[in-house]
């Protein structure tokens, strides 16, 4: 048996639209199933990791992965391969058909979609797709040298320890099916983050950003911010755990409010399994669930989000306001559950319990920001704790969105509008439902500055349960 790929990728290392169409047609022609869907991800990644002030590992990879989903009657199964010669593709399709035939009927199955119309979203940038290993190493060097400059400027002894990661990805997402749907979209994304640690081990600072377009990320800014936080966070003092007013930087806020996306699934809410379930049955739709300043919406065309125009079924991504001025206005209805409930579907999903078994989808979910900057939020704080970001946040109770986690890489006491001292890290145990009812102020999200679409916010009565000696 000869094992080799007969498919030659293009110079840009991922499938063009015409190449993708021809590959999909080829795969669909092999299928004898009632309905067949093909999902392809084709792309390249380039990453550079650094630690101890130098690049440690880096890698360039390219791959094209095909998933075939076959439906026979009400039975369905999928198979995946990255071996793209005809023999392997036929084997992959045949296996999907065979697995489907052997599966019992799925009462929640939904037919494949026909051709759809999609928003024209431009979220592919050459600056990201063409980022070379040399440019990545140079960016790492800028982070390292800038942070080290901050350290030297503070006349501090010894050498700052710098670590970080740059990851650039570019490629195409393709959905095609036997009912004539064909969707092709190219996109790029890049992220850069870095951590500065002081030689005495008492201080640590982090800064990071992510974007579709590499040209808006500034390694010097990120290096400087990590360095400054490291300098400022040295020799933290212990303050008593308890309820504190906190100012959450955008990265920290994003880690907490991201939980809301997982609770938007209508079926889970109706089955009593998440925070938007009404005690005794039903959901909280139409009820005030958060402070009136809290609004969550999804819009892939939003310039700060630039999401993808369709999901894995080829269902068009739409604009929805889920929480408006604190009121739960909309839940996510995957196709099966929407059909059952007689409401319009808001996303793909049907069959195999995907009509509602999982969480909600948060890819383009955004919390609406206010007008004030992070600095203003700090300046208006009488006494509180500033959090840079968190580590290992995990759910303790999904029904109250109760999370636990640890503050990290820059935790400071604010007194009378000023950062007065670094404090030791805390473990928090905090319900996000309560937190979003305890809002004092929501600031302005600024992706260019923070790399996050979540706004900074000030929240009262945030529960720090215990101290951590971790730096």
């Amino acid at each position: 048996m000869t094992i080799k790929s007969l498919y030659q990728q293009t110079a840009q290392q991922f499938l063009s639209q015409s190449e993708a169409k021809s590959l999909c047609d080829r795969i669909l022609s092999f299928s004898k199933a009632d309905e067949t869907r093909v999902n392809i991800t084709s792309g390249s990644t380039g990453n550079t990791r650094f630690a101890g002030g130098q690049v440690t590992t880096s890698g360039d990879t390219a791959n094209t992965t095909v998933t075939v989903l076959c439906t026979v009657g009400k039975k369905r199964a999928s198979t995946t391969t990255n071996v793209l010669d005809d023999e392997s593709l036929k084997r992959t399709v045949d296996l999907a058909v065979r697995l489907a035939r052997l599966s019992p009927d799925d009462p929640e199955i939904m037919p494949e979609l026909g051709p759809q119309q999609y928003a024209n979203i431009q979220n592919y940038f050459d600056s990201t797709a063409n980022l070379s290993p040399e440019q990545r190493a140079a960016a790492a060097k800028k982070c390292i040298e800038t942070a080290e400059g901050v350290w030297k400027g503070a006349n501090a002894p010894g050498a700052l320890f710098m670590a970080g990661f740059l990851d650039a990805q570019a490629g195409a997402t393709i959905v095609a099916n036997s009912k004539g749907l064909f969707a092709y979209h190219r996109s790029s994304r890049v992220s850069l983050s870095n951590t500065a640690r002081t030689p005495d081990g008492t201080g640590s600072g982090w800064a990071g950003a992510n974007a579709r377009d590499w040209s808006i990320i500034d390694p010097v800014y990120l290096g400087r911010r990590a360095g400054q936080k490291a300098v400022q966070s040295r020799n933290p003092v212990a303050i008593e755990p308890g309820l504190y007013t906190v100012v959450l930087e955008p990265a920290a806020a994003s880690q907490l409010v991201g939980q809301v996306a997982g609770a938007l699934n209508a079926r889970n809410a109706e089955e009593g399994r998440n925070a938007f379930s009404q005690r005794g049955g039903g959901t909280k739709l139409g009820s005030k669930v958060f402070d009136e300043r809290v609004t969550f919406y999804a819009d892939p065309s939003d310039p700060e989000i630039l999401g993808d125009p369709f999901d894995g079924e080829g269902f068009p991504e739409g604009k929805f306001t889920y929480i408006e001025k604190g009121v739960l206005k909309q839940l996510q209805y995957p196709r099966f559950w929407a059909d059952k409930k007689g409401v319009p579907a808001t996303m793909g999903g049907g069959g195999g319990g995907r009509g509602g078994g999982g969480g909600g989808r948060g890819g383009s979910l955004r919390m609406q920001g206010g007008t004030k900057s992070l600095e203003q939020l700090i300046a208006e704080t009488e006494r509180g704790v500033l959090c840079t970001h968190f580590f290992y946040t995990n759910v303790l109770d999904p029904r109250s969105m109760m999370l636990t986690g640890i503050t990290r890489d820059g935790t400071f006491l604010i007194e009378k509008g000023k950062i007065t001292k670094p404090v030791k890290n805390f473990r928090f145990n905090q319900s996000i439902v309560q937190m979003l009812n305890n809002i004092e102020e929501i600031g302005k999200a600024d992706r260019a500055e923070t790399g996050s679409t979540a706004p900074p916010m000030r929240v009262r009565d945030f529960n720090f349960a215990s101290l951590s000696d971790a730096v």
């Binding site: 101890g52 890698g59 791959n63 198979t79 992959t92 019992p104 790492a140 946040t393």
Partner: protein
């Protein structure tokens, strides 16, 4: 709720005789790997390794009377790692032709040169004797090749048995099966092919009495075994007993927060070992290489820790081991061709040695006297670069044959925890929080009923120094996971942790069940 479906358990259409795998060979792997090494050398690499992997993963998930997902995936490609003047480069491709792998090798050399522009300390590799040969996980029946009908029938019989238990509303069960064939060639002369087979099952049941909802997940650890392991679990026979725990949780009383003596069954303790001993004793973490992501370690700096840190009491012995039967970290060689190793990380409560790769061995050799790698290099895919990953890390049992019952009998006021729940630990592995699946109040040496809303929060060295009783050999149990995350980009490692039950004194228990309406 989904419409009720008739349970149609498919008949097994084809009998599949037990298979004993001798060795899988990729027909082109050796040639392609050597082609890549030649290209790397010609482009200027002083060292290179080429790793070709073919991964076959099968997953089957069910919910009550329906299949929620059947998937079968295959991934095949080559990753080439190069060392030029002491700097690493790596590139990977799925195009498996001689030209493409040579081009991939040259790209890796380009990445090495880019990294060199930032170099401060060149990489030095610990010596290793070049290895040649093949190895395969010892199994009786390849789980990937078991007919799907047999797998579906097993899971549906499991769900059906659980659904017969009063108050059980939802059940999920699943299987994850892996076959991985990996060839490694190095410019030093290593040429090896290993075939790994791993199997895992899952089960969870949710009970409701109309007011409250409680779930219970059974701890069914992954193993380096074939289908025979899944059969040994006998899920249909145990499902009702597991589901009954979810029902019992409905009437559990909420815990009063405070200090208790804590008895951890091995099904809970393995994860605490993983997070609070496994991760902090990774040398790359201790040296800051994970500072930007997973964090660092309180077991640092090495010169103040090796032979000095009192991690726990003298009854505590922690072993790193990639030779342990049935463990998912089992192998013959690591991803640098270093033979599988077994050594004590903590001996009689004192920290002795970190986990190391070839690059890291020299960093601590003057302190430990060990110049070779402990064989902890691993990459989770052909397109991921290998780096330091945890071997199986286990708490060795007591010489005395103490049982779980002996520990309970010796405890006046405590809480016993079964299976893992939510967990969280800080970035230096000091302050942690672990929950579980089922909690039992211990009063006067006896189980006095079930509790709920329990999590224990502690500081690592204090917690381990409070361990005063551990079980003997007959109480030892091997837990583990397929998904231990580390690194940027994140990679997933398969790992096992064995342990007996153990008791910890005066541990802080919090109540997690805050009512927010």
């Amino acid at each position: 709720m989904a419409a009720a479906a008739t349970i149609a358990v498919p008949r097994i259409l084809t009998a599949s005789p037990p298979t004993i795998i001798k060795s899988w060979r990729e027909p082109l792997a050796d040639d392609l790997a050597l082609e890549a090494l030649n290209a790397a050398r010609e482009a200027g690499a002083q060292y290179a390794d080429a790793r070709i992997g073919r991964y076959r993963r099968q997953q089957l998930n069910t919910r009550e009377h329906q299949i929620t997902g059947v998937s079968d995936s295959e991934s095949y490609g080559i990753g080439v790692r190069t060392l030029v003047d002491g700097s690493w480069g790596f590139a990977a491709t799925a195009i498996m032709t001689k030209d493409a792998v040579a081009q991939c090798a040259r790209k890796a050399v380009r990445l090495s040169r880019a990294a060199k522009s930032t170099q401060r300390r060149p990489v030095e590799l610990a010596p290793v004797t070049p290895a040649k040969g093949t190895w395969t996980t010892p199994i009786k029946r390849d789980p990937v090749d078991v007919p799907i009908e047999e797998k579906v029938a097993l899971l549906f019989a499991t769900n059906e048995a659980a659904l017969k238990v009063a108050k059980i509303r939802f059940v999920t069960s699943g299987l994850q099966l892996l076959r991985e064939v990996k060839t490694l060639a190095t410019t030093e002369g290593t040429l090896i092919t290993q075939t790994f087979i791993r199997s895992e099952a899952s089960f969870s049941a949710t009970a409701s009495d109309g007011q409250n909802v409680e779930s219970y997940t059974e701890e069914l650890p992954p193993r380096s075994q074939g289908w025979e392991y899944i059969e040994e679990l006998n899920m249909p026979a145990h499902a009702a007993e597991w589901a009954q725990v979810a029902v019992e949780k409905l009437s559990a009383k909420t815990v009063d927060a405070g200090k208790y003596d804590l008895i951890l069954q091995p099904t809970n303790l393995w994860l605490t070992i993983h997070e609070s001993i496994g991760h902090p004793t990774e040398l790359d973490r201790a040296m800051g290489f994970e500072a930007n992501f997973a964090g660092t370690s309180f077991v640092n700096p090495p010169e103040k820790m090796i032979n000095k840190l009192k991690y726990g009491q003298p009854l505590m012995n922690i072993q790193g081991d990639r030779t342990q039967d049935h463990s998912v970290g089992l192998c013959a060689w690591d991803d640098e061709g270093v033979p599988a190793d077994k050594w004590l990380i903590i001996e009689k409560g004192i920290f002795k040695e970190y986990q190391t790769t070839r690059e890291q061995a020299a960093w601590v050799a003057p302190l430990t006297g060990v110049k070779r790698s402990h064989g902890c290099s691993y990459a989770d895919s052909w397109d991921a670069v290998q780096f330091q990953r945890m071997p199986n890390v286990s708490l060795l049992p007591s010489e005395k044959d103490t049982s779980l019952n002996d520990i309970v009998s010796a405890t006046d006021r405590g809480i016993m925890i079964r299976n893992r729940g939510s967990w969280s630990i800080d970035h230096q592995r000091y302050n942690f929080s672990f929950s579980g699946q089922a909690f039992y109040e211990i009063k006067g040496g006896k189980v006095a009923g079930m509790l709920k809303d329990v999590a224990y929060q502690a500081v690592t060295p204090v917690f381990w120094n409070s361990m005063d009783m551990i079980g003997g050999k007959s109480s030892y149990w091997l837990g583990g996971t397929f998904s231990d995350g580390k690194g940027e980009p994140s990679q997933s490692n398969s790992i096992s942790h064995g342990c007996p039950p153990a008791r910890f004194r005066d541990v802080n228990i919090i109540n997690t069940g805050r009512n927010v309406g």
